[in-house]
C-alpha cells in the first residue's frame, strides 16, 4: 500500500445511517407493524436440571387472545439449533431441561401481554436431577452427564517446541491460577424477530441479529422448508456484541413455525430478564498459568490450562475454546508453549460469543503473569514486554510468521512515553493510587474457525449514484460507513451518493457471521473487489469518451479524469449513462475469501489468521479508601490497526470496547443462586456502567498496514476489551500491593482488602 492522499479513506466522516437514528425514524425489529400481527412468548423452566415428565398446555390454550401453543413435540424439523456442531441445543426442551430459563413451550396471542399471561399458565412437571453447577462438578466423573457424550464440550491443545525443556532452561518461574466471571452483553435493545409470511410460499424474517445466513439455514431446517423459501432481512440492530445469534435462531424458528401454521405475521421481542437468562453469556474461566524466563527477561516457556464454563449447550464454545488457546501466550516470542483449552458443560445458561471471544479471559491471565514475572526479575513491566514483543519475521505461538503488520512494539513505545507523563500520586488519608499496563493481540477474521467468505455487490445507476450490498451486518460498529467509504474512494463518487442497503440473504453470497472483527478486513475486501469491477467499466468507457481508448483514467470528486491531461474531465453520471448504453456492466456481485487457515489440528501449529491486531493499554487508578470506589484517572488504548479508514468510527469502537472490558474487570458479574438460577437478571442488580462510571479512554492508532485488508486495514472491534480489562487488573494489583487473581475485582473486594491490610 503506497502512502497516498485519499478522498474519504482516513477522513472523519459521519455515520451514513446516522440520520435515521438521530431522528428516531429507523425501524428496529420491535418497531415493525404488520396487519394481523400476533405476538409470541415462551414458557421457561425454573429448574436447572431434570427430566420433563409432562407439559400441560391446556390452560394456556384456553387463555384470552391465544391462537396457538406448542411444545417440542410439535416441531416438524429436527428441533435442534446451535451455532456449531454438535448442534446440541433444542428449540423447545423435550425430554430434558438443562438450565433454568430454558424454553419449553411457545404461546402465540393477540398481544404480548396476553401471550405472557398465557405462558405463565403452562404447567411443567419436572423430575429434578442434581444440577452440575461448577467446573469441578463438571470434571467429576461421578457427576450426572448433561449430554450423551459427557460434560466436556470441546478440548484442544497447542504444542510448540518442548515446554519441559523450556522450563529446565528457565532461571525464573511464576505460576498462578486466574479466574473470570460471567458477563452479560446488555445491549440496550433486547432480542427481537418478526416473521412475515409472504403469500408466495416464502417467509421473511426481520431480525435483530449478526448472522442472517446462519438464521436462514437453521430456521428453514426446523420448519421443514428449503432455505430458498426463507429470506432473512436484518433490521436496524440495537447492539449485539456476539449475543444475539443463538437467540435469533431460537425465537426466529419458533415465530416462523407459528407464522407458517397461522398464515399471519408473528413478533417475538424479549423482556430484559429473558434477554439475560435466555441468551448466551461470556464464558467464565479458570486458567492455570506457568511462565518461565531467563534472568535477562527472555521468555523461554509457557504452560497454560484453560477451563471454560460453557453452560448447558455448545453454542460457540468450540470456537471460543480454540481462540482462547491460540491467544493465551500473548504477543510475545516464545519458543516453547503448551496450552490445553477445554470447555465444559454445566446446568446454567449457555456461554457463547461475546466481543473478545475468549481473548479477554486469557489476556487477563497472561498479562498478570507478565507483571508477576517482571516483579520477580526486578524488571520494569514495559521493558519486559518490549524485550519479548513479536517483531515482523518472528514465529508466534502457532508458528505463524508475519513479515508485515506487526505493530506491538510501536504500541509499547507509545505506552512507555505516556507513562512518563503520568502524575506520580502518593497514598494519603483519602486515596490510594496505582498504574498498570497490558499488551495483547487478537486475530482478525475467522481463522481456525473455518471458511471466511463474504458476499458483496456494487451497483451504479445511470445518475452516478451507488448502491452497495453486503452480507455482513451493521450493529453500530460503523461497518456500513466503512463499506460506503471504500466504494466512494474506489469509484470517486462523493459519500452522499453512496447507499449501503439493508442486509438481505436474497441479495448476496452467504457471508457467515459478522464476528471476529472481520467486517473491515474481509468485508471491506469484498466491497473493494466489487467496486473495482464497476470501476473498470467506467474507466474503459471514459477512455472511449476521451478518444483515448485504454488510457489511464482517475475517478475522483465525481469526475472521470484523464491522467495524462487532467483538464480533460467528464462528470461520472455522464460516464455511467454512456457505459450503460454502450453495454458495459455497472453492477458486480462478488464473493471474497480470506486466505484459508492451514494448520495441524493436534498442535495448532500453522497459519491461522490473515492478520493480528496488536495493542497495549495504560491505566492509572485512584481508589477511595472509605468506599473502595475506583476512579480511572487515565486510560490510553493504543492499537496497531493497519490503516485507519474511519477515525471517528474507530475511536468509537475502541472507547466502547474499552468500557465493556472495564465492566468485565470491575463492575459486572452475573450471579447464580446455589440452586443454579440467575438472581440478578435486571439492570439494577447487574451493574452495567452508566455515564458516571465511564473511563476517560484516549485512542492512539498505529498503522502497520496488512496486504490482506482494504487499504491495509485490520479490525479493532474486539481487542480493546482484553486490553482494558487486563491493564485495569494490573493497576489495581499495583495499588493494593496484592495480585488480583479474580475478575471482577469490585469496590467491595478492594475495601475489604484495605480493611484487612489496615488491621495488620
Amino acid at each position: 500500500m503506497k502512502e497516498k492522499e485519499y478522498s474519504v479513506i482516513g477522513k472523519r466522516v459521519n455515520k451514513v445511517d446516522g440520520l435515521e437514528l438521530v431522528t428516531g425514524k429507523a425501524r428496529f425489529t420491535g418497531d415493525l407493524r404488520f396487519p394481523g400481527m400476533l405476538y409470541g412468548y415462551a414458557k421457561r423452566s425454573d429448574s436447572p436440571a431434570g427430566m420433563i415428565k409432562s407439559i400441560d398446555i391446556s390452560k394456556a390454550q384456553a387463555a384470552p387472545g391465544v391462537h396457538l401453543v406448542f411444545t417440542g413435540e410439535n416441531i416438524p424439523g429436527p428441533n435442534l439449533i446451535g451455532i456449531l456442531p454438535p448442534f446440541d441445543q433444542t428449540l423447545l426442551a423435550k425430554d430434558k431441561v438443562r438450565y433454568a430459563g430454558e424454553s419449553v413451550a411457545f404461546v402465540v396471542a393477540e398481544t404480548k401481554t396476553q401471550a405472557k399471561a398465557a405462558a405463565s399458565q403452562v404447567t411443567l412437571d419436572i423430575e429434578p436431577t442434581k444440577p452440575v453447577l461448577t467446573l469441578d462438578d463438571a470434571l467429576d466423573p461421578a457427576s450426572p452427564k448433561i449430554h450423551a457424550n459427557g460434560n466436556v464440550t470441546f478440548s484442544r491443545n497447542l504444542i510448540k517446541g518442548d515446554v519441559d525443556l523450556g522450563f529446565a532452561e528457565a532461571d525464573v518461574i511464576v505460576e498462578g491460577v486466574y479466574e473470570t466471571s460471567y458477563q452479560e452483553h446488555a445491549y440496550i435493545e433486547p432480542e427481537a424477530v418478526c416473521v412475515v409470511p409472504g403469500g408466495d410460499g416464502r417467509i421473511t424474517i426481520y431480525a435483530s441479529c449478526q448472522s442472517p445466513f446462519h438464521l436462514r439455514g437453521h430456521i428453514a431446517a426446523n420448519i421443514g422448508q428449503p432455505a430458498s423459501k426463507v429470506r432473512v432481512v436484518q433490521s436496524y440492530t440495537g447492539g449485539s456484541f456476539g449475543g444475539k445469534d443463538d437467540v435469533a435462531v431460537e425465537i426466529g424458528a419458533l415465530a416462523a413455525l407459528a407464522a407458517v401454521k397461522l398464515g399471519r405475521p408473528v413478533m417475538v421481542s424479549h423482556d430484559r430478564e429473558e434477554s439475560i437468562i435466555g441468551s448466551n453469556l461470556r464464558h467464565p474461566s479458570r486458567i492455570k498459568y506457568k511462565t518461565g524466563a531467563k534472568k535477562d527477561g527472555t521468555l523461554v516457556a509457557k504452560q497454560v490450562e484453560i477451563l471454560l464454563d460453557g453452560g448447558a449447550y455448545a453454542s460457540e464454545s468450540p470456537f471460543v475454546t480454540m481462540k482462547a488457546l491460540i491467544h493465551a501466550a500473548g504477543p510475545y516470542r516464545i519458543p516453547n508453549v503448551h496450552i490445553k483449552s477445554t470447555a465444559l458443560y454445566t446446568n446454567k445458561t449457555y456461554s457463547g460469543a461475546f466481543r473478545g471471544f475468549g481473548v479477554p479471559q486469557v489476556t487477563f491471565a497472561s498479562e498478570s503473569q507478565m507483571d508477576e514475572l517482571a516483579a520477580k526479575l526486578g524488571m520494569d513491566p514495559v521493558e519486559l514486554r518490549k524485550k519479548n514483543a513479536l517483531l515482523p519475521g518472528d514465529s508466534n505461538a502457532t508458528g505463524q510468521v508475519f513479515k508485515e503488520s506487526v505493530g506491538i512494539l510501536d504500541t509499547l513505545q507509545v505506552i512507555e512515553r505516556e507513562r512518563e507523563k503520568l502524575e506520580d500520586f502518593k497514598e494519603d488519608n483519602h486515596y490510594l493510587y496505582g498504574t498498570g499496563i497490558s499488551s495483547m493481540l487478537q486475530g482478525i477474521s475467522n481463522g481456525a474457525e473455518g471458511i471466511d467468505v463474504v458476499g458483496a455487490s456494487v451497483q451504479m445507476s445511470q445518475d452516478g449514484s451507488v448502491l452497495v450490498g453486503i452480507g455482513l451486518t451493521e450493529l453500530g460498529q460503523g461497518s456500513r460507513t466503512v463499506f460506503a467509504q471504500i466504494a466512494s474512494e474506489v469509484l470517486g463518487v462523493p459519500l452522499e451518493k453512496v447507499t449501503v442497503k439493508t442486509v438481505d440473504t436474497d441479495a448476496v453470497h452467504d457471508s457467515g457471521p459478522t464476528v471476529a472483527s472481520r467486517s473491515t478486513t474481509v468485508g471491506g475486501k469484498a466491497v473493494l473487489t466489487a467496486a473495482e469491477a464497476v470501476k473498470e467499466s467506467l474507466v474503459t468507457m471514459a477512455g472511449l469518451m476521451f478518444k483515448s481508448p485504454g488510457a489511464p483514467v482517475v475517478l475522483k470528486d465525481n469526475f472521470a479524469i484523464l491522467e495524462a491531461s487532467p483538464e480533460a474531465r467528464i462528470p461520472l453520471d455522464q460516464v455511467a449513462t454512456a457505459a450503460y448504453w454502450t453495454g458495459f456492466p455497472l453492477m458486480n456481485l462478488t464473493f471474497s475469501k480470506a486466505p484459508p487457515s492451514n494448520y495441524d489440528h493436534d498442535t495448532h501449529q500453522g497459519d491461522i489468521y490473515v492478520a493480528y491486531n496488536y495493542g497495549s493499554h495504560l491505566v492509572q487508578v485512584r481508589i477511595d479508601k472509605i468506599t473502595g470506589e475506583v476512579t480511572v484517572l487515565r486510560h490510553l488504548a493504543c492499537h496497531d490497526v493497519g490503516k485507519v479508514i474511519n477515525p471517528k468510527g474507530l475511536e468509537g469502537q475502541v472507547e466502547g470496547g474499552s468500557l465493556i472490558g472495564f465492566g468485565l474487570a470491575h463492575m459486572e458479574k452475573i450471579v447464580h443462586s446455589p440452586e443454579g438460577r440467575i438472581i440478578n437478571s435486571n439492570f439494577a442488580d447487574y451493574a452495567v456502567p452508566t455515564i458516571k462510571d465511564r473511563i476517560p479512554t484516549e485512542v492512539v492508532s498505529i498503522e502497520r498496514p496488512t496486504s490482506n485488508g482494504p487499504f491495509g486495514a485490520k479490525g479493532v472491534g474486539e481487542p480493546p476489551v482484553a486490553g482494558t480489562a487486563s491493564a485495569f487488573a494490573n493497576a489495581i494489583s499495583a495499588a493494593l500491593g496484592k495480585r488480583v487473581k479474580k475478575l471482577p475485582v469490585t469496590k467491595e473486594d478492594i475495601l475489604i482488602h484495605l480493611s484487612e491490610r489496615d488491621k495488620k
Partner: protein, 157 residues
C-alpha cells in the same frame, strides 16, 4: 377513560384503558416508535420522553398521567425550518451514535438539560444523562456532542 394532551405540539384526544403504559400509548396507538423499550423497569432510559419539559421514563408511567400535559418525543425534536436540532447535528458530527437504540432517550435528556443550562459542566451532563444507558459508545463522544450542541445553541441565540 379519556385523556387529552399535547404531543409534539399536536393536540391529542384519546379514549384509553387505565392500565395502559405511556410507552405503549406512544408506540402502539400513536405509532411513534422512536421511543424505545430496553428494560421495562425504568432503568435504562431508552424510553425517556419529556413531559412538561422534564425527562421521565415512559415505560413505568401510566398513560393516564399524560392527561393535561405537554409531551415531547424524539419525533418532535427538530431545528428551525425542518433542519436538524443542534443536538442531532452534534451527535452525528461527534460520532455519538453507534447502534442508535439509546439515542432518542439520550437526545431528549440532553435537550432538557440544555434548555436549563446552555453551558453545562461535564459533571452536570453526566448527572443529567445518568439514567440513559449506552453499551456501544463508552459515552465519551456523547459528552462531546452535548457540549458541542450547547455551543451551537448559544451561537444561534
Amino acid at each position: 377513560m379519556r385523556i387529552r394532551f399535547l404531543c409534539n405540539n399536536e393536540q391529542r384526544d384519546l379514549e384509553i384503558d387505565p392500565s395502559l403504559r405511556a410507552i405503549d400509548l406512544l408506540r402502539d396507538i400513536l405509532g411513534l416508535t422512536g421511543t424505545k423499550e430496553g428494560c421495562g423497569k425504568g432503568e435504562c432510559g431508552a424510553c425517556t420522553i419529556l413531559v412538561n419539559g422534564k425527562p421521565v421514563s415512559s415505560c413505568i408511567m401510566l398513560a393516564a398521567k399524560l392527561d393535561g400535559t405537554r409531551v415531547e418525543t424524539i419525533e418532535g425534536v427538530k431545528g428551525k425550518d425542518e433542519e436538524l436540532h443542534p443536538l442531532q447535528q452534534a451527535f452525528l458530527e461527534e460520532g455519538a451514535v453507534q447502534c442508535g437504540f439509546c439515542t432518542p432517550g439520550m437526545i431528549l435528556s440532553s435537550k432538557a438539560l440544555l434548555e436549563e443550562k446552555s453551558k453545562p459542566t461535564e459533571e452536570e451532563i453526566q448527572e443529567a444523562l445518568s439514567g440513559n444507558f449506552c453499551r456501544c459508545t463508552g459515552y465519551g463522544k456523547i459528552l462531546k456532542a452535548v457540549k458541542k450542541a450547547g455551543q451551537l445553541l448559544e451561537e444561534k441565540r
